[in-house]
Amino acid sequence: MKLLKTVCLLTITSLLLTSCKSEEKKEIAMVDTANIYIKGTIDAELTSPPFVPAPVGDRTAKKLLVNMEILEKEGEMTDGVKYVYWTFGGSVPGSFIRTRVGDEVEFTLSNHPDNKLPHNIDMHAVTGPGGGATSSFVAPGHKKTFSFKTLNPGLYVYHCATAPVGMHIANGMYGLILVEPEGGLPKVDKEYYIMQGDFYTKGENGERGLQPFDMTKAIKEEADYVVFNGKVGALTGDDAITANVGETVRLYVGNGGPNLTSSFHVIGEIFDKVHIEGGDLINTNVQTTSIPSGGAAIVEFKVEVPGTFIIVDHAIFRAFNKGALGMLKVTGEENKKLYSGVKQEGIYLPEGGTIQTMPDNTKKEVAVQSSNKTLAQKLKDGKNVYMKTCFACHQAEGQGIPNAFPPLAKSDYLNADVKRAIGIVLNGKTGEITVNGKKYNSVMTKQTLTDEEVADVMTYVYNSWGNNKTNVSINTVKEVKNSH
């Protein structure tokens, strides 16, 4: 005996004709989403990143039960660097929630008994005070339930809003909730969940051990780590996201901040479609899309050729020095029409990391009388060269960058052969090498350094980070140079 609530689904379709001329037509469909009729109850599927729940498709609006647990737990920011994350659902970012417009979400937030702090949740998809924060403030060992109706389709951030709000967000308490439009989003082949965040630690980037949160750096917005999905390397190597040639990939990209805006970019791809700020406005053929902190975007593109596509925040030092780097691995048939691959290979090395200058013939090179430099002096000078030239790739502690640049610290490859190492500095190196059991395949360019600088920097490297303390002389450098 149910009344068919036709009133609830009020669709006003109006036809606008421009007054002056032309047959230009515009259809505006307006649905009062507050009155969408709800039928039945289902449990929400929640997924941890980079995965997303199955599409909503064309199911009717329902009461959707979401159960989320807050866990404060230790994790690894990068090799050897521990951090206590505060999480929604055990991951950073928190579990992905997928709903459709008109759903009534009944949200239960449970604060694990072992947690130290009270928390709550502010969902940008909520129309209501505090985005739900007011109703969800919950002490450890307790849970709170509230419900809301999803009125606007889009991709929305959720986060904790308990004092000090910035700290809760900085510790990883954020995630995404997708509200699909009536009928669902168009079908694609692959969907992934990526969320950027900036982290502030007491120690500098790479400093080992359990790193506490640093409020002062957070206020100054001096991030030590800027990462996708909560840690350095969450989306690289074996954890890279994947697709096959010819497939369409949709990325739900959020930015938890707390501070930094993301210049989201996939190297070697052009976004066919971007839902700007996660809303209805669609831009096409986009290279880099800006995602504010506390904001999101949906990007879609078809992958046409195989290879590894690097996902970055194009504020590029964040990518190569602070961790904002992920990978999309595409497998399938090459398409030489679209991309040739390497046609010819060789080494062209006009510049290394050092500053380039034009040759200056007016100044005669003075033979450097430095063979009698002390070891301490060599180490000091060598460190200067290192910081100028080698630091960006091999990093401050010689730890390298996983899957990209080999470590110099305790490096078996380095320690095995001094002359080979000098040769690489002088001449550059491409191709696969194995360092400490891991394979690297990258390019090191030839470094334009004087023989003395080479001797100094090599001595510095050999006398640092557990290497074999070789003292490299200028003569050895000359020897290697001449043997080439």
Binding site: K116, F137, A161, T162, F213
Partner: protein, 241 residues
Amino acid sequence: MITNCQSKMVPIKGGNYIPLYGRDSMKVSINDFLMDVYPVTNKEYLAFIKKHPKWQRSKTIKLFVDGSYLREWKTDTTLNVNQKLKSPVTQVSWFAAKSYCESQGKRLPTVDEWEYVAMANKTMPDARKEEAYNQFILGWYEKPKTFNQTIGSTFRNYWRVYDLHGLVWEWTSDFNSVLISGESRKDVDKDSNLFCGSAAINATDLMNYAAFMRYAIRGSLKARYSMRNLGFRCVKDDKTN
């Protein structure tokens, strides 16, 4: 040794101080009082509930405790294997803590009394500006399961009181008198007198965010709640003065 001095109290000399939620005009004065040196332990609480069976888990009135009350205990009167006699008792409600203190002729400290004693480090009565002091407190937030430690395992402060920071949160008699609503951002609204001071949110120093969390946790509690990280200790007015 610890067991012997456990019920021992030390005198706290009263004075004026400005609490976190205060302004210059809101100095609070504290009278002299006595405070327990350590938080109440499992052993002591066990003795209490043997004497007062109405506070045993299965016998409590549900108005006074929630479902987590002494939940980790094996039975009404036995601890679990991983619980130590000398660890602070946790998972007790405010009602239970209050009743315990009263049974000893004591009472729960007020927020102001607790904060007043807890702002001391090892050497100074007010160390709130000391970075190391604040780092210690903040470091605790990042250490899991500190409720399993034993009493006396942190530091003895200026007043010779142990474990105010670094072990467990502690109940206070008026824990919810400084209200923090669920919406923390609202509490700094200039129109709101819930949390006096939009200044607090602008504060950049460590002291504010360490202390903020104590006010936040208190704000999230109800008197029948109990938590694994929440214990208590008692105080007594100093009648000698």
